[in-house]
Point group: C2
Chain length 344, copies 2
Amino acid sequence: MTSSPDAVTPSRGAVAAGEGTTTAPFADRLATIVTARESQVVLGLDPDPAQLWPEALDAAAADGPPAERAAQAVLAHCRALVEAAGPACVAVKPQLACFERLGAPGWAALAAVVEHAREAGLLVLADGKRGDIAVSAAAYGQALVGATPTPLGAVAGLGADAFTASPYLGIDTLEELLEAARGARAGMFVLVRTSNPGAADLQDAELAGGRPLWERVAGIVHDLGVVGTTAAGAGPAPATGRGATAATGGGLHDVGAVVGATAPEHVARMRELMPRSVFLLPGIGAQGGRVEDLAPAFAPHRAAGLVTASRSIATAHERASGAAPAAAARAEAERLRAAAWALA
Amino acid sequence: MTSSPDAVTPSRGAVAAGEGTTTAPFADRLATIVTARESQVVLGLDPDPAQLWPEALDAAAADGPPAERAAQAVLAHCRALVEAAGPACVAVKPQLACFERLGAPGWAALAAVVEHAREAGLLVLADGKRGDIAVSAAAYGQALVGATPTPLGAVAGLGADAFTASPYLGIDTLEELLEAARGARAGMFVLVRTSNPGAADLQDAELAGGRPLWERVAGIVHDLGVVGTTAAGAGPAPATGRGATAATGGGLHDVGAVVGATAPEHVARMRELMPRSVFLLPGIGAQGGRVEDLAPAFAPHRAAGLVTASRSIATAHERASGAAPAAAARAEAERLRAAAWALA
């Protein structure tokens, strides 16, 4: 790794507040940190209050409402996980459900986790798989990467660098989310073919003509994406600085695809259909996917394939007798980083 | 209307805390309140901080962070809307995106809105269109209708009576959400064919064999549903009381369908495919749908078709010169109630 973590990730704070900014487009920020850290690993943050690292429970207040205490423990767990495994990773991927189930304190913990990850030099991919009609999609965009104008002042959203989206409602709803993403120089990852067994039910449905539904979605993803944010409708141009970084993205689009690592036989075909999309590849480890099967994902640029792992890192100590959670997590993240980097 | 609002809706508080309960299944609670109020109207709560009723802005504190002040105003707006239009309605449908964009204060306002609506005798349909792999789907279930066990005590979720779900990830993910719903005697509405223009992109995709994708989803919705919660895997049986109310649901399933009112030509076919599902029918009013076109939805029971309206109620005063927002909202909700009731 050739650079300190703090140096490689431009802050998104100014964007969240809706001000002019010199922030590079998401794909460029991603490519920069992938190169600097020699890593394509995304650290999933799916905290289960019943399975936190022991030290995290000690961080909760001695008394108070369970939601607040649990949120404190979840935050401490995520901070420790980011400290331990973060240096081998390029981004965190908080699973929004795991925070929402703790109510308002959970959402506050999520915001603190995002801030902590950014301070650690990591990008943030908010994993909520959102999708809704236009006006509601716009509200999700404000929540995740933008800001909400109100008569009482602008309310900054999470300030994520990218988010996941569900395509079932159609192109107009994805375009609304994408408009929010581009306004914030953020990225979007659309579900194409997921890692769960039931992915076959609709995603693999055979269309008239013989192709599966996911191929149609892949085409939509490719058509929506642009390199940089210079296309029409791409949101306000940055005040300065884009030219200095635009080449680093390796021609990657701002619209990526969620592609389950549990069906590697599809990965090469997906790369044909989406030659410039970043693939977010969940399903490694706990869900059975193997990083060795994913080589086609890592073209045309190493940043075009991101390997996500959550439980396999957070619970690595359970498979290494006597190891402390943090040390085991760091070792597992580093193992995954090296395995993926060796492929490309 | 033959009953006071307070009398017709069993509280869900005990369920959210995970305790034994005498709460009737969702479809029975719905049928009871539909009959009592002679209404099939669901009041959508999609608060935009830039378009709140004037009195709501006055409810915000004089100073403080914009997110907290905006959340106070949003809560006041929703309370006033529920007070005004609620008596003509059977449920509220908060759009989660509109609260999430205000961060933790927004989520706290959402919880307060849910509580207020329940106190007003209304059911609560949490509209987040969630869908994720199994472990995350379970977390969404905990967030919306269940509770999260933690070493620091159980954390109650929102306590909604039902929620919306996206089918793209497949049957296993819907089953996980449904398990959470059944454990809480709640309902689930799956997106089948939505009200936006882009619904045609994937939902209308022609499958091999000639049928559109949404027909396959409709079949899944029908197959997942059960009457009451007596089927295998339907979660814990209630301690007492189910027998007294089970007949009131008119044989309706606990899995419903989101069916856009903007494509009424499909409604009759949907009823064939999902004879026992409750249809949640967005798209009336601002999106162009007309309640008069929806007659096929209202079989086999009046509760089988729920007409949702948001902006057409909240902004009714803008089309009635000189009318106060509350009076105009009440009149529009009552007009919609009467129009729908006259059809069945």
